[in-house]
Symmetry: C2
């Protein structure tokens, strides 16, 4: 199987397409350096690779026209939402057109009875939840950044709520997609379930713009829970916290969030948010349900935590107290940065079966210590997913190399434990090198065959996932 | 896009392959007529199309050898589990080898801490739950028949529990698959979530053996709930029952099962099971949770039902009483048959957005009445999914034609309401003719491109899903 490769940069074709699109879109096509740079990967240590022009699409028809012009001249198209992806997803290694869908930001329909909504891809998760505020419904997936929903679907994002509500794969009912030949297709009906053919919806979720461009999403919504309880519980060790997580999930307690902060992250939070949390591994939990249900759930969790030496478990059902409790988690990133002012934090993301979580985090912490890094750990531990935030002086080649080597060991450690090199950030160009090791040859060949079948000329976001 | 077609029957190639496989498998290759007939579609009104031979595989290696022999001579391979599929999935329109995996029936691993297990494809759902009995865990998907888990994954099966636990798409973590060229691949790591490339797992779930043969499944498990409550609630109309379902789900009541029987089905059940249920539309519900939680949930549901004129809501938490309540549902099929002794019941399966459910069922009931059919209705109404069971004298061409025309109207009605022609039975050969109407040209072209990419010679279960 020959791998689809990044097409060579074709100056004449690019100039032709930019000319055609300029004529069509006028000021909605931009070529300024700053704007093009902003449309490349800037939130990561992966070097930015600039597109040649940015088109601001305002409709599916705009996307179709752009893709058709690019397809006719075999020029790359790179979809762009908010630019908050972390693995170089929006880079343009062979140049081409960045297709910015952020102006496609209308909520098109809310079907309250069906618990779904239809949105354009540039709608962000916060914008959607603002819009839904008066309906009693909400969209649960929260990857941290206020990402666009098109981007979240493209990278199969998840976040703190995934343990209860799943990831984007579980919450996208249907997609409208513009294919590599500029055709518009809808991947599924709006019915809640279907068994009519290949699951194109799930194929496009997580395909990172390499198979087509998402122009509309039908998403699952949920009733805002009648009551919520949340709490913080310190543990004597990572292992004790992980064991409590395992038992919590095994007994079917429907925890909505269960997040781990290691003692380094807790120290950072204490300093940053002027708190005095015990500097121990900490679980932050949240329960959704009825008034009686969330009290019962919190009490059950407290019992489980105590079995593993955890506690005291402080919890509350009042909104203000909950907010205070979650402040620690929400400030985790900025708090981490405050540990080494002037440094960058490089977020990584691995996921292992939950039975291996304590072992994986413990080994990672020993590695951090032995190579002299400062790297707080926060995790969506109900899924076995955690992030390391090594703090790096990007001016120091030594530090950058050291961090790269650490990141590689982290990935290989997760893979050795039946885990994955990315739980929720995606592949982009940053993690392509690990894909064969994770999946093996035959699955990668299958992915390449699918890529070639749906994008024979390799114009859709080239250089990502399965390109070489 | 040229559609992959059923390859012409090649007598010489088939004879060669049967010879090769006979030499390899001895008595594990069978060619008797009765056995071949049993390995074609017999549970449906679709005419059986017999394979030329049946191979009883006992290992992945057996599957690999069979597929390689078939691939070398371009002879069809049709996977077979328990033969309980309903849309002609196991028919062999161009002959070939039925690959029976029912002897691959070992539970290979149970990872209690990770809430998952690894099974061979011939393990049935009841067998798995028997095996799990002492672990406190269970596998929730229940399509009615004691189907094989490989078959359930292949058809994206669901059933009564789907409203709470999802369908097979939500409960398969990873698959081992033998590809069309006889390579073995694993579609995903065992970690709970991943965002590393195209979702091959979800692509194979629901692909009905047309892309490869499932030889191992890693499945999600759940803790057996601490407590269960279940009840029966009559309603004055289908609309009232449907509205109660909508509000139940909208308010986030985590109902585990919510099943509708129409008054015809209730009459059948009363006669068959010697009950005296009110001959009205009936909802059967079940709740899973803590002792206090299930009581609270049942009371909430009772309140909701009363808002729509439903009641009295009789419910119980005792296992025996629950069993009595659910007897009505479990006997639905046999009860329906008892309405017209000697006739066959042809199961259909459509699914619409839940807001359209009452309208869709009401129109269907008017249709039933105006064309003179007897056709009880039972539905997994929490998903908007329902089944019609027209009772047909298969000896009467008039009755068969009338039922076929009715089934077609049922499908078109569902499609007109943003629904799907199959919520859980799959496409097989029976529903292929509706796929273009449901999905449109571009998605069907994409499915054909994927089929051609992964099975270029069209040997994997030909004549199903996207073949013509």
């Amino acid at each position: 199987m020959v791998a689809p490769s990044v097409p060579p940069r074709d100056e004449a074709a690019i100039a032709t397409v930019v000319g055609i699109l300029k004529q069509r879109f006028g000021e909605r096509l931009a070529t300024g350096h700053a704007l093009r740079e902003q449309h490349s990967a800037t939130l990561t240590w992966i070097d930015p690779q600039l597109p040649d022009a940015v088109v601001f699409a305002e409709s599916t028809a705009d996307v179709v026209e752009t893709v058709r012009a690019c397809a006719a001249h075999r020029v790359p198209v790179i979809p762009f939402g908010t630019g908050t992806s972390l693995e170089g997803h929006v880079n343009a290694p062979a140049g081409g057109i960045s297709l910015d869908v952020s102006r496609m930001n209308k909520v098109l329909a809310v079907h309250a009875e069906d618990l779904d909504c239809v949105v354009e891809p540039g709608v962000t998760r916060k914008q959607l939840n603002e819009f839904l505020r008066d309906t009693g419904l909400f969209f649960p997936i929260d990857p941290g950044a206020d990402a666009s929903l098109g981007g979240m679907a493209s990278t199969r994002a998840s976040g703190t709520n995934a343990v209860r509500y799943g990831t984007m794969k579980d919450n996208v009912i249907s997609l409208e997609v513009v294919t590599a030949t500029g055709e518009v297709m809808t991947t599924s009906r709006r019915a809640r379930k279907s068994s009519t053919g290949y699951d194109l919806t799930r194929l496009f979720v997580g395909s990172e713009g390499t198979l087509g461009i998402i122009t509309k999403l039908t998403l699952r919504l949920y009733g805002i829970p009648e009551a919520t309880s949340a709490g913080i519980c310190p543990f004597p060790s990572i292992k004790a916290a992980a064991d409590a997580v395992i038992l919590t999930i095994q007994t079917g307690l429907p925890v909505a969030r269960i997040e781990l902060l290691d003692e380094v992250q807790v120290r950072a939070v204490n300093g940053y948010s002027k708190l005095s949390l015990p500097e121990q591994p900490l679980l932050l939990v949240e329960f959704h349900g009825t008034e009686a249900g969330v009290v019962e759930q919190a009490e059950r969790f407290g019992d489980i935590a105590a079995e593993y030496g955890g506690g005291p478990f402080q919890w509350a059902t009042l909104a203000e107290e909950r907010s205070r409790l979650w402040a620690a988690r929400h400030d985790a990133y900025w708090a981490a940065l405050s540990l080494r002012p002037g440094c960058k934090s490089v977020s990584s993301d691995v996921c292992v079966p939950i039975s291996r979580l304590a072992e994986c985090i413990d080994e990672t912490k020993r590695d951090i210590e032995s190579c002299g890094l400062i790297a707080p750990i926060v995790g969506h531990v109900g899924d076995g997913n955690f992030h390391c935030l090594p703090l790096i002086d990007m001016e120091s080649p030594f530090e950058v190399e050291r961090a790269k080597a650490f990141m590689e060991r982290l990935v290989l450690r997760a893979l050795a434990m039946e885990g994955t090199c990315s739980g929720e950030h995606g592949v982009g160009s940053g993690k392509m090198k690990y894909l064969e090791r994770e999946h093996g040859t035959a699955p990668l060949d299958a992915m390449r065959a699918i890529k070639t079948a749906l994008d024979p000329h390799g114009i859709m976001n080239p250089g990502k996932i399965v390109a070489t």
